[in-house]
Symmetry: C2
Subunit: 121 residues, 2 copies
């Protein structure tokens, strides 16, 4: 009985550790219209980077502009990597008012967007 209990406890514990490693990554690639100004783009970068302070579900956030020498970015110039604990985090983020306000700022300058999410292995 004690052995079964110990096995159960250690199974639950290991399971929790494994789950904690499986960050939910939300990858967003953006490209901008030709008539978007440098000022428009800076405003969008700052608005996106302000989201972690407004949306608690965001665990980690980073971004940068394309520096690949391979020429396979299909015109995308910006990559944003938003991390949530799990899919529930994304489900809080997507309809969040702060995210909606960001999309309103983004939309007029947006040429193309690609979104891919994955649970990190």
């Amino acid at each position: 009985m004690m052995k079964t209990l110990a096995a159960l406890v250690s199974f639950l514990f290991l399971n929790t550790l494994a789950m904690a490693d499986s960050e939910f990554r939300h990858v967003v690639l953006l490209s901008f219209k030709e008539d978007a100004t440098a000022e428009d783009i800076t405003k969008i970068e700052k608005a996106f980077a302000a989201l972690p302070d407004q949306i608690e579900a965001i665990q980690d956030f980073e971004w940068g502009t394309n520096v690949s020498p391979e020429g396979k970015a299909k015109g995308f110039t910006h990559c944003f990597l938003v991390t949530f604990k799990d899919k529930a985090g994304l489900e809080v983020y997507l309809p969040h008012q702060a995210h909606k306000d960001f999309v309103t700022i983004l939309k007029p300058s947006l040429e193309d967007v690609l979104v891919i999410d994955y649970v990190a292995k």
Copy 2:
């Protein structure tokens, strides 16, 4: 004089910390041909995931399959995130024999690829 020296030392120190934060991220999205089998795809996933053991320049590596509910992945099903200390790491990686061998395994099943690299801010 001491004040100037202190300012210089703290500037250099802060600068070093900032540099250490600026990981070089190599984001690779893949999609596979319709005739690629589940076995072909598993072989590719394993071959990609084996690269960190073969190429020392890889600092961090993770991947996963698309779970985005937004439908904006443009057909890409796999995302791989390869981290280098800096661009020099990528320049070791790209022509590395282990990377070339991986591309040879990948090629016959590859439908489309997107690569975007950024220095994390």
